[in-house]
C-alpha cells in the first residue's frame, strides 16, 4: 500500500508540474527534499543519543520493568503476544506518555526503542507484527492533553482564549484512539477466524 501511495504522490506531482509548465520545479524539489531528509536525521542524532542514554539508565535501575508491571492489565489485552514485563512494554508506555503530554521530541526515541524491542519478538523480521501495528495505531491516534505548539501559535495570533481548544482536542483524540484500537482488535479477530476456517 505504501508503495502505491509513494508512487502516486511523485507521479501526481510530476504530471501537475508538467501541466502547469513548471517542470523545472521537480528537479529542484528532488534535490532540496533529499537534503532536508538527511538534515532531519542529523537533527535527530542528538535527541536520540540523549534519550536512549537516559533510557538505559532507567532500564538498569529497573524503572522500565516497574512501569511495564503497572500497565500489565491493559498491556496483556492490547499486546497479547508480548510477554508481560518485556522491555518493549516499558518503552511503549514511555512513548505514549510523551505523546499524551505533547512532548513530540522525546516521543520519537522511545518509539524507536519500542520498535527495536518488538522486532526482537517478531518471527518475520521484514513484515510488521500484530503488536507493531497496534503500537503504531496507538501512537498515531494518541490522546493529547497539551497541544503546546498550537497553543503557542494562538497566543502569538492574539487569541482571547488560547487554551479553549484543549477540551475539544482531548475529546477528538480520545475518540479516535478508542475507535482505532477497536478496529485493530477487530482486524486481529478477523485474521484469527480466517486462519481457523482455511
Amino acid at each position: 500500500m505504501l508503495n502505491l501511495i509513494w508512487l502516486c504522490l511523485i507521479l501526481a506531482g510530476v504530471v501537475v508540474a508538467a501541466g502547469n509548465g513548471r517542470i523545472d520545479i521537480i528537479t529542484e524539489t528532488f534535490f532540496s527534499a533529499a537534503d532536508e531528509g538527511v538534515k532531519v536525521c542529523l537533527d535527530l542524532i542528538g535527541l536520540m543519543t540523549l534519550w536512549l542514554g537516559m533510557l538505559e539508565v532507567a532500564r538498569q535501575a529497573g524503572l522500565i520493568r516497574i512501569l511495564a508491571r503497572l500497565v500489565r492489565p491493559l498491556a496483556v489485552r492490547l499486546f497479547p503476544e508480548v510477554p508481560p514485563e518485556h522491555p518493549a512494554l516499558g518503552a511503549i508506555i514511555m512513548n505514549i506518555s510523551a505523546n499524551i503530554l505533547g512532548l513530540g521530541n522525546a516521543a520519537t526515541p522511545f518509539g524507536l526503542k519500542a520498535m527495536e524491542e518488538l522486532q526482537k519478538l517478531n518471527p518475520r523480521p521484514d513484515t510488521a507484527s500484530d503488536a507493531m501495528c497496534t503500537f503504531l495505531a496507538a501512537n498515531t491516534s494518541c490522546i493529547t492533553l497539551v497541544p503546546a505548539t498550537i497553543i503557542g501559535v494562538r497566543i502569538a495570533a492574539g487569541s482571547v482564549n488560547p487554551t479553549e481548544i484543549v477540551g475539544p482536542t482531548i475529546f477528538a483524540t480520545g475518540f479516535s484512539m478508542a475507535f482505532v484500537l477497536l478496529l485493530d482488535s477487530l482486524w486481529r479477530n478477523f485474521i484469527k477466524t480466517r486462519r481457523r476456517v482455511f
Binding site: M1, W6, L9, I10, G13, V15, V16, A17, N20, A33, E36, G37, V38, C41, L44, I45, M48, T49, L50, L52, G53, M54, V57, A58, R59, A61, L63, G102, T108, G111, L112, M115, E116, P125, D126, A128, M132, C133, L136, A137, T140, S141, L145, P147, T149, V153, R154, S159, P162, E164, I165, V166, P168, T169, F171, A172, T173, F175, S176, F179
Partner: protein
C-alpha cells in the same frame, strides 16, 4: 485545570531526567557508564532511518511544490463548502499526515488569516492537535528496524487521522457553532 496541564508539560522533562538519574543512583547503577552504553545506539539508529526519510520527503515535497496538493484541495473544496468548512482546512487535512512542519505552517496561516477565535481558526487548532504525521511515524519507526511490509498499519494510521478529523469537525461544530 489548564494551569495544571501546562505545568505538567513544562515539568515533565526535568522531572523525568532527575527521576531516572536519582533512581539509578539509589539502585547502585553506574549512571554515567549506563548512559554512555545506551547513548551509543543513538547515532546508528538516526543514520539508519536516512533512506526512509529521504524517500518520504522527496515524495511529499514534489506533491506539494508542484501544486498537485492545491489542485486536490480545490477539487474537494466545493463539497466541503456545503458543510460550512473553509477550503484551507482541506489543505491542512491533506498535509497533516504527510509533514508536521508543513501542516503547522498551514495551520498558522489559517489562524492568522481567519483569526484565532474564528470557526476556521479554532477548527484548524483542534485538527492540528488531534491528528499525527502518520507517514513520518510509519516510515521512521518501521525503517529503523528494517520492516518493509507494513500490513494494516498504514490503513490504521490513516483511519486514525480521518477519525480525528471527523471528531474535530463534530466537536467544533457543537461547541463553536459558526
Amino acid at each position: 485545570m489548564m494551569q495544571l496541564l501546562e505545568a505538567v508539560s513544562r515539568w515533565a522533562i526535568p522531572f523525568l531526567l532527575c527521576l531516572f538519574l536519582v533512581l539509578g543512583w539509589v539502585r547502585r547503577v553506574p549512571v554515567y557508564e549506563a548512559f554512555i552504553k545506551g547513548a551509543a545506539e543513538g547515532f546508528q539508529t538516526a543514520v539508519r532511518i536516512i533512506p526512509y526519510l529521504v524517500a518520504m520527503f522527496v515524495a511529499i515535497k514534489v506533491f506539494r511544490e508542484s501544486g498537485a496538493m492545491d489542485l486536490f484541495a480545490r477539487i474537494g473544496a466545493p463539497f466541503l463548502g456545503l458543510l460550512g468548512i473553509p477550503p484551507d482546512i482541506l489543505t491542512l487535512a491533506l498535509m497533516r499526515p504527510l509533514s508536521g512542519s508543513s501542516a503547522l505552517g498551514i495551520a498558522t496561516e489559517i489562524i492568522r488569516t481567519y483569526g484565532p477565535d474564528s470557526f476556521a481558526g479554532r477548527l484548524a487548532s483542534v485538527m492540528q492537535g488531534t491528528t499525527d504525521t502518520t507517514f513520518f511515524v510509519l516510515t521512521v519507526y518501521f525503517g529503523s528496524v528494517g520492516v518493509r511490509r507494513y500490513r494494516h498499519a498504514v490503513a490504521l494510521g490513516l483511519l486514525a487521522d480521518l477519525t480525528g478529523l471527523i471528531a474535530s469537525l463534530f466537536i467544533c461544530h457543537l461547541l463553536f457553532n459558526p
